[in-house]
């Protein structure tokens, strides 16, 4: 673990414990393994719209939004071992909040709608988190995690029912349409190509924040809970507080993805809060693997790509394909006897092979 730190550029040098320590003499893992891939991906994504038709860049926008959505779920699932079948509740809450503010209340600023959506999502998560963790519970001391999972499904369905019944505000079953282009200030509106960059910037900021969180003291507290919650309590950790706060944090990032989605598609339906949408985040985490930070982002690229191809060649077969992806993603780990852990770890392995091969 020492060498992982040693590579951070510009960071303070790691004090070697003693000159005899073999770790001190080990060559720090080269920059090429972390900084280079991030730079390469960022440059490709930034330059891509110049070379591809606009409908493809809108697909990339969707990949980024869904990637953020999947990664926000992985924050609690992969790091704290809190699975949720209702993550769309927060995705949809963020999306609906922003959309209602813009179309019904007449708020014009994108940033203000984003901020208010974050606050509303956090509040909804804070309220739902109390019964989720106090009554149903997951982890040490909980009767059976299945109750927790069923409760998370119920949260999504509950909110989508509310979206149906609050017709004057949410547009009922037909939902909200005609969400305008994001107004990012100075009188500027974003056309789809500019929105691409807006999503990229917000997504990058969210990824950076999430990366900092999972690698912080708090993040390692979550890892400890993932591995052994009873021991964490015996060590002095209030694990309830960790689980509850991580639930809110994951909800906020899911809500941001929802806001980006609302402005992207310009239409929202109650299903954006329900199981149908939760399934997507669930699939992204399974497909991408829970063990790698960016796993769901890789999965989102794959998922959106497959969805697009399917929509062109066999639009009626999409649900079948979606189900097949689910089954295969789940079966792959036992089939390969654990050698395959998801798309994320595979990409990481491939990258390491490329780097080591050329070095």
């Amino acid at each position: 673990m020492d060498e992982e730190l040693g590579q951070i550029p510009g960071g303070p040098p790691i004090a070697a414990p003693s000159p005899e320590d073999p770790a001190a003499r080990r060559v720090p893992r080269p920059l090429v393994e972390t900084v280079l891939p991030i730079a390469v991906v960022a440059i490709i994504v930034l330059l891509l719209p110049l070379f591809i038709p606009s409908f493809v860049s809108s697909l990339v926008t969707k990949m980024m939004i869904f990637g953020l959505f999947g990664m926000s779920l992985n924050l609690i699932w992969g790091y704290a071992n809190i699975p949720s079948f209702g993550h769309a509740a927060f995705f949809g809450t963020g999306a609906y909040t922003a959309a209602v503010l813009v179309t019904k209340v007449g708020l014009s600023s994108f940033w203000l709608s984003l901020l208010l959506a974050i606050i509303v999502t956090a509040a909804v998560a804070a309220i739902l988190g109390v019964p989720a963790f106090r009554v149903f519970g997951v982890g040490a001391g909980a009767a059976n995690p299945i109750y927790f999972l069923l409760a998370t499904i119920a949260f999504g369905e509950l909110l989508s029912r509310m979206a149906v019944s609050l017709r004057p505000v949410t547009g009922g079953t037909t939902g909200l349409s005609g969400i305008p282009e994001a107004a990012i200030g100075f009188g500027a509106k974003t056309n789809p190509e500019q929105y691409y960059y807006l999503v990229f910037v917000i997504g990058a900021v969210c990824l950076f924040l999430m990366y900092r969180i999972v690698n912080s003291h708090y993040g390692y507290g979550l890892r400890g809970i993932h591995d052994n919650e009873r021991r964490m309590q015996a060590l002095g950790y209030n694990t309830w507080l960790y689980k509850y706060t991580s639930w809110i944090v994951a909800a906020v990032f899911g809500g941001v993805a929802g806001v980006l989605f609302a402005y992207f598609g310009s239409t929202l339906v109650p299903n954006n809060l329900a199981m149908v949408t939760s399934d997507i985040s669930f699939l992204l985490v399974i497909l991408g693997g829970t063990t790698v930070f960016f796993g769901p982002l890789v999965a989102a690229v794959f998922y959106v790509g497959v969805e697009y191809v399917a929509s062109v060649y066999m639009p009626q077969r999409w649900p079948l394909l979606f189900g097949a992806m689910f089954v295969i993603a789940i079966m792959m780990i036992p089939w390969t006897k654990g050698r395959y852990q998801g798309l994320g770890p595979e990409v990481l392995r491939l990258w390491r092979r490329v780097v080591r091969g050329s070095a």
Binding site: Y218, R223, D227, N228, R231, A234, L235, G236
Partner: protein
């Protein structure tokens, strides 16, 4: 004043009384061993003392403070720590991370939201000290699930020491170890120093007689007898309950 006191402590699961009005105290710096046959309620009593289980009746006092209803983590902050009979570590993390997570449990920094975990040099130095004192420093980069069992048991004890406890509750520290490893654990517990009070469950009589100053025998959830090691060794009831009633011919004293 006793450091830890159990007053009339009981717990029953349905009709089964696992612990029946147990009363005892442990003085600061003392080494007390809890022995008894399987199913005597030793681990259940431990769980009552550390807060994993809520008692049906009675009180637990720590440093004179009633902690009967305090949570597990609150007790740790007061100065109690425990080890587990079934090895209880963070299997997917390295030994170093195990120690670091263990050490920050009572630090304010544990809620640090943005500060990178691995840049905490003070925490790393403390982890190094902890691991060096248990001879695990050379294994710091190994994933814990790949460690040998004896090494995992050592880490188990290291983690229970990580919160700098005044009272250490050890649940069968030598469980499943070879004789040599067990002797090593015995030596380590003996070397803990008088600042740490030890209450331990043990089946291994070498460990009990090697470490303990006083022994309590638990039988069917009740204290059957207590006394010094010599008293326990020569007690007729202990032989009957614990070591089997049949006297072996020629086995004198």
């Amino acid at each position: 004043m006793a450091l830890l006191e159990a007053q009339d402590l009981s717990v029953h699961f349905g009709g089964l009384s696992a612990v029946k009005s147990v009363t005892f105290g442990i003085e600061p710096g003392e080494r007390l061993a809890l022995i008894g046959p399987n199913g005597a309620g030793k681990t259940t009593l431990f769980n009552l003392l550390t807060g994993q289980l809520a008692p049906s009746g009675g009180k637990v006092l720590f440093k004179g403070q009633d902690i009967t209803n305090a949570s597990v983590y609150a007790r740790t902050h007061l100065g109690m720590a425990r080890s587990f009979q079934i090895t209880s570590l963070f299997p997917y993390q390295s030994t170093l991370v195990n120690a670091m997570i263990g050490l920050q449990g009572v630090e304010k920094s544990r809620y640090g939201f943005f500060r990178p975990f691995f840049k905490d040099q003070a925490l790393k130095a403390a982890a190094q000290e902890l691991l060096e004192s248990t001879d695990l420093w050379d294994l710091r980069d190994e994933i814990v699930s790949s460690l040998a069992y004896g090494q995992q048991r050592k880490l188990e004890i290291a983690l229970s020491l990580a919160s700098h406890p005044e009272l250490l509750l050890l649940d069968e520290p030598s469980c499943g170890l070879t004789t040599t490893e067990s002797a090593d654990i015995t030596r380590r517990i003996r070397d803990l120093g008088s600042k740490i009070t030890v209450l331990m469950i043990a089946h291994d009589m070498d460990l009990v007689f090697g470490v303990a100053e006083r022994v309590i025998l638990l039988h069917y959830g009740q204290i059957a007898c207590e006394g010094t090691c010599d008293e326990i060794r020569s007690n007729e009831m202990v032989r009957e309950i614990y070591m089997g009633s049949r006297k072996q011919p020629g086995a004198g004293g």
